[in-house]
């Protein structure tokens, strides 16, 4: 076992521990904090895989932007009591079934993706340079330029949606 694999296992352990912390903590703010830590660990994994651009984008976009939005919402929703409302049995049962189904799919997906990699050195897989910003940019703006433009249309619709939802409230207030 080389130092790379040791790092991988330690990092994975932390990732899983924080991820479990997200769903186990009763206070939603603590959940958000655990989620941020999980994102950091995932960024660590990206760095180990030499996908440096993805690592830093994961921090900027997920930990730095989306989690700020989450925190905004949670902080201002008057969540002073730490207790979660108790769900009824049917909801719990549905949750177990859907969670189990998701687990099954993920295990199957990972198993099928591993078939081509057997016997290969893990260092070889991880020493690719495709995650570096230079290569990523070249691919994004030549091969995948059409999805890139489609993404901008997606952003446009998201902006419209946000404005429609956000302004509706204040329009009602002035009407009253």
């Amino acid at each position: 076992m080389n130092i790379y694999q040791i790092t991988f296992w330690i990092l994975s352990l932390f990732t899983l521990a924080f991820a479990i912390g997200v769903i186990m903590s009763r206070n939603p703010i603590n959940s958000v904090l655990f989620l941020i830590l999980t994102f950091f660990c995932i960024s660590g994994h990206y760095v180990l895989m030499n996908a440096q651009f993805l690592a830093i984008v994961n921090i900027i976009v997920y930990a730095g932007a989306i989690m700020v939005l989450f925190l905004f919402v949670i902080m201002l929703m008057n969540l002073n009591s730490d207790t979660e409302p108790q769900k009824n049995f049917l909801v719990q049962f549905a949750g177990v079934v859907s969670g189990g189904a998701l687990l099954l799919i993920m295990v199957a997906a990972i198993k099928s993706s591993l078939t081509g990699l057997e016997g290969k050195n893990i260092d070889l897989i991880n020493s690719t340079d495709i995650g570096l910003i230079k290569n990523l940019g070249t691919v994004l703006f030549t091969t995948y330029v059409f999805p890139f433009e489609i993404a901008s249309v997606l952003f446009l619709s998201a902006m419209v949606g946000a404005v429609v939802l956000g302004k509706k409230d204040s329009a009602l207030k002035t009407a009253e």
């Binding site: 440096q52 830093i56 932007a65 700020v68």
Partner: protein
């Protein structure tokens, strides 16, 4: 294969470098508080701190000791864990930005080994800084929410909305710069500004991208919560701002984090736009003195530029009145973002048009 380069000597070297940088930035932050009071005094025709030591030079030490000896108060209605986490995070993020800054030219020993005056030379240095800056908002948000004080919460909200708004313009303004340099590595951007004059034109990025510099420095004022953008701690409306409930070193952390951030921002401004450790006539100097002194002069030049920026931040604080909140948001969203986009497209078109 990948991690073989890590030896004990390497770790020790980095630990020493990091300790010097952290200690140094803390020391500079402490003396920035002294300088701020002296500058304020000079501009208002007063004397400023002059009791502790000559010219009041021991004042920051006395202040630090006072903060340590004060009672630690955690309000009963607050969230205790987050109340401690808030200032800690603010300080932690202030300490992390310095990791990718090249402090001086590499010291090449006689045996060919190289000592880099940079903690981590990563090829996405600028994005790393943005990552840390975007996390800086957590310290304020968590601290203000945990206090369970109405003024703190309002101030924290204001600070968070202000920080995220100006982060966008900040990120956009640097894209034009990255287009010119073709790299996100801080080291490479600084190296490209070698000297002062080359092929009949200035090498420093300020002369190539003045608009980007103006946008960036306005955004840094906002990110630092400094006047004229200190809406989050305007004492006339919000008592003390987001740190109203904090006492002892927890308050000190918020204040010191602000001054460390100001120092690091000054370093970043001088590295990106004013040539970092480059200065006119540096090639001549490199020929005439030993490599160690070349590096030391480089570090001093960088620190000198940073001190000039810190003084500029202070002059602005005691000159301009505070913005109104709607003016602040309008400036960020409706002026700086379109301006930065325009700058980016024009830069791109010009470079492509003149490219052979």
């Amino acid at each position: 294969m990948i991690l073989t380069a890590i030896t004990l000597g390497f770790i020790l070297e980095k630990v020493i470098l990091v300790s010097i940088i952290l200690g140094g930035s803390l020391g500079i932050a402490m003396y920035s508080t002294w300088a701020e009071r002296k500058v304020a005094a000079v501009m208002q025709d007063r004397r400023g701190p002059n009791r502790a030591g000559p010219f009041g030079l021991f004042q920051p030490l006395a202040d630090g000791l006072k903060l340590f000896m004060k009672e630690e108060i955690i309000p009963t209605l607050s969230n205790k864990f987050l109340f401690i986490l808030g200032p800690s995070l603010a300080m932690l993020m202030a300490c992390m930005t310095s990791a990718v800054i090249p402090w001086g030219p590499n010291i090449v020993h006689a045996d060919g080994s190289v000592f880099t005056l940079q903690v981590a030379d990563i090829n996405i240095g600028i994005l790393f800084i943005f990552g840390v800056v975007s996390l800086g908002v957590y310290g304020i948000m968590l601290g203000s929410w945990a206090s369970n004080n109405k003024y703190s919460l309002l101030s924290g909200l204001r600070a968070a909305a202000q920080a995220v708004s100006y982060e966008l313009a900040m990120g956009l303004s640097l894209i034009a710069l990255v287009m010119m340099s073709g790299s996100l590595s801080m080291r490479e951007i600084v190296e490209q500004q070698h000297g002062f004059w080359n092929n009949g034109y200035f090498t420093w990025n300020f002369f190539k991208q003045p608009l980007a510099f103006v946008i960036f420095i306005v955004c840094s004022f906002a990110e630092l919560n400094r006047a004229p953008f200190d809406l989050s701690e305007c004492e006339s409306e919000l008592v003390g701002g987001y740190h109203t409930e904090f006492s002892s070193m927890k308050l000190g952390f918020y204040l010191f984090a602000e001054y460390i951030n100001m120092f690091i921002t000054s370093i970043i401004l001088s590295s990106l736009f004013f040539g970092g450790y480059n200065y006119p006539g540096m090639d001549w100097v490199a020929l005439h003195v030993s490599p160690l002194f070349v590096s030391i002069i480089g570090v001093l030049v960088l620190l000198g530029k940073a001190v000039a920026f810190i003084l500029f931040f202070m002059f602005i604080r005691w000159t301009l009145p505070r913005f109104r909140y709607d003016q602040l948001m309008d400036l960020g969203w409706k002026s700086l973002i379109p301006l930065a986009l325009f700058n980016m497209l024009v830069t791109g078109a010009i470079i492509l048009a003149f490219q052979k």
